[in-house]
Amino acid sequence: MTFFHRHRWLTPYVLLAPGLAFLFLFFVVPLYYLGYTSLQEGTVQIGYTFTWAWDNYSSAFGDYRGQFLRSLEYAGIATVVALLISYPLTYWIAFRGGRWKNLLLLFIIAPFFVTYLIRTLAWQNILSDDGFVVNVLQFVGLVADDGRVLATSTAVIAGITYNFLPFMALPLYVSLEQIDKSLIEAAKDLYASSTKAFLRVTLPLSMPGVIAGTLLTFIPAAGDFINAELLGTPRQAMIGNVIQSKFLEITDYGQAAALSMILMAVILVLIVVYTRVLGTERMAG
């Protein structure tokens, strides 16, 4: 007690120490081991040895370029679709919700309360071959009479969109909610049309939400393997599926770790580029 009185500057470090130590041990150190493992070769039988096996990286790129590109493509499309659904939805709640706002917001996060796998299996049910959705799509001719939705890339992208939509909607809602409504009125008083007021006032002010939402949707989507597994076939396999099966089924740890490192690096680069580009545009606009 007296020791802490004399050394008050220590208090924050004492409070931080256990939590940060835990994160250091089980978040930072594992990343080091991921890199370490990615340069090992061997098998489960003979054991793994560290040999600077850069070959893991080159073969990972060579063998799985398709899955990498597919992951980025699916995640990109799902992010755009989630944005197109979430923006009007959260705009409606933020500007027209009135006293129902919190309740409506509850609807957006409700999917989180159904276990991820169970709600994905529900989509398996909804999109199943004799289901209502497929029958309607067949009737209007969007799907061939013997065509299916399940086991196609459409199903996988639909699943990803649904599962990560709340990550898009929540930050969007926060930024739309914070907009000072009198700014929009001011724009209209100055003879801006509703469209122009939206494009010049509301949209730029909601950009932090758009940036946060797209990142929070894209990142988990690019690493996802559940939707491709449950709603797709091996032809829709994403990089997550490869990493998962290499770690847990094939036990090819070296290459699996290399693939994880590449995924992380690709995502980091994309984030930096994306925030730079949008950030400077925002300055200029």
Binding site: F26, A110, S194, D224
Partner: protein, 284 residues
């Protein structure tokens, strides 16, 4: 300073019926869109609940065969399902308690003290939130593999505490920011020492934030599949059970348990919403 001529008030724009009609359509288009989007969000949830009452003919619970409450009377009937739910709850309880304690301490330090290394601390808290789950799971697995740690219950617990801490810090910190420190000073002026002040004044005031963090941690833990699948060994949690059954057809009891989790979580959230609603001043 007087202007030579007062500026004439600008003529009011005439609003034609066409413009008004268009405005009406637009106003209601977004409402219709919003309701449709909400319906889309609710659709799988409705399916999960409805099919918990289905009486499937075979293993696949996909087509509606008939109404039954059979799965509700014995939800833990299928082999291994009960054990899986039990381990999920155990993991979630331990992970919640530990991550809430560790996370709250970090949040307190971040909000109330100025110290060197704040930037690094924020980074360490923030990065796990943005890393893809598969990388978190895989890297933790490589740690355990290289150290020769046996995978099982405790490696799952460690993994869950790890990804819950950051969420707790963010949640608790958000509630701490508006905290009025004068209340604490008043308590100290009235002769309370630091510990009494903390337990009698500070803790009750930040309790809602801690509770929110705990609820979030618990629901994240009980729902997690990706990170768990990398670090589980032979221990099976509820999501792992669902995954293992997914290829063979998931028993309807899974829908029952999914519905139970959903109802409990929604009730807690509704309670929270109603609580805020009542505290809100009228007209806000």
């Amino acid at each position: 300073m007087t202007a030579a001529a007062e500026p004439q008030p600008l003529p009011r724009r005439r609003v034609s019926p066409l413009t008004r009609g268009w405005a009406f359509v637009r106003r209601h288009t977004i409402t219709v869109f919003g309701l449709l989007a909400l319906a889309y969000l609710m659709l799988p949830i409705v399916i999960v609940i409805v099919f918990s009452f289905n009486d499937p003919a075979g293993r696949y619970n996909y087509t509606w065969e008939g109404f039954t409450t059979e799965h509700w009377t014995n939800p833990f009937g299928p082999p291994f399902l009960g054990d899986a739910v039990q381990s999920s709850i155990k993991v979630a309880v331990i992970a919640t308690i530990v991550s809430v304690v560790l996370g709250t301490l970090v949040a307190l330090a971040l909000v109330r003290y100025h110290f060197r290394g704040r930037g690094a601390t924020n980074l360490l808290i923030f990065v796990p939130l943005t890393a893809p789950e598969i990388v978190l799971g895989a890297s933790l697995l490589t740690l355990f593999l290289n150290l020769g740690t046996a995978l099982g219950f405790w490696t799952i617990v460690i993994a869950h505490i790890m990804f819950c801490i950051s969420f707790v810090v963010v949640t608790v910190r958000a509630r701490l920011v508006g905290f009025d420190r004068h209340v604490e000073e008043a308590a100290m002026d009235l002769g309370a020492n630091e510990y009494v002040t903390f337990f009698r004044v500070t803790l009750p005031l930040i309790a809602p934030g801690i509770l929110a963090g705990a609820l979030l941690a618990f629901s994240l833990s009980i729902d997690d599949f990706v990170i768990t699948s990398f670090n589980s060994g032979t221990t099976e949690t509820f999501p792992l059970y669902v995954w293992s059954q997914a290829q063979r057809g998931v028993p309807a009891e899974v829908n029952v348990i999914g519905t139970m989790i959903f109802v409990v979580a929604i009730m807690l959230m509704l309670f929270n919403v109603l609580f805020q609603w009542r505290r809100q001043p009228k007209g806000a």
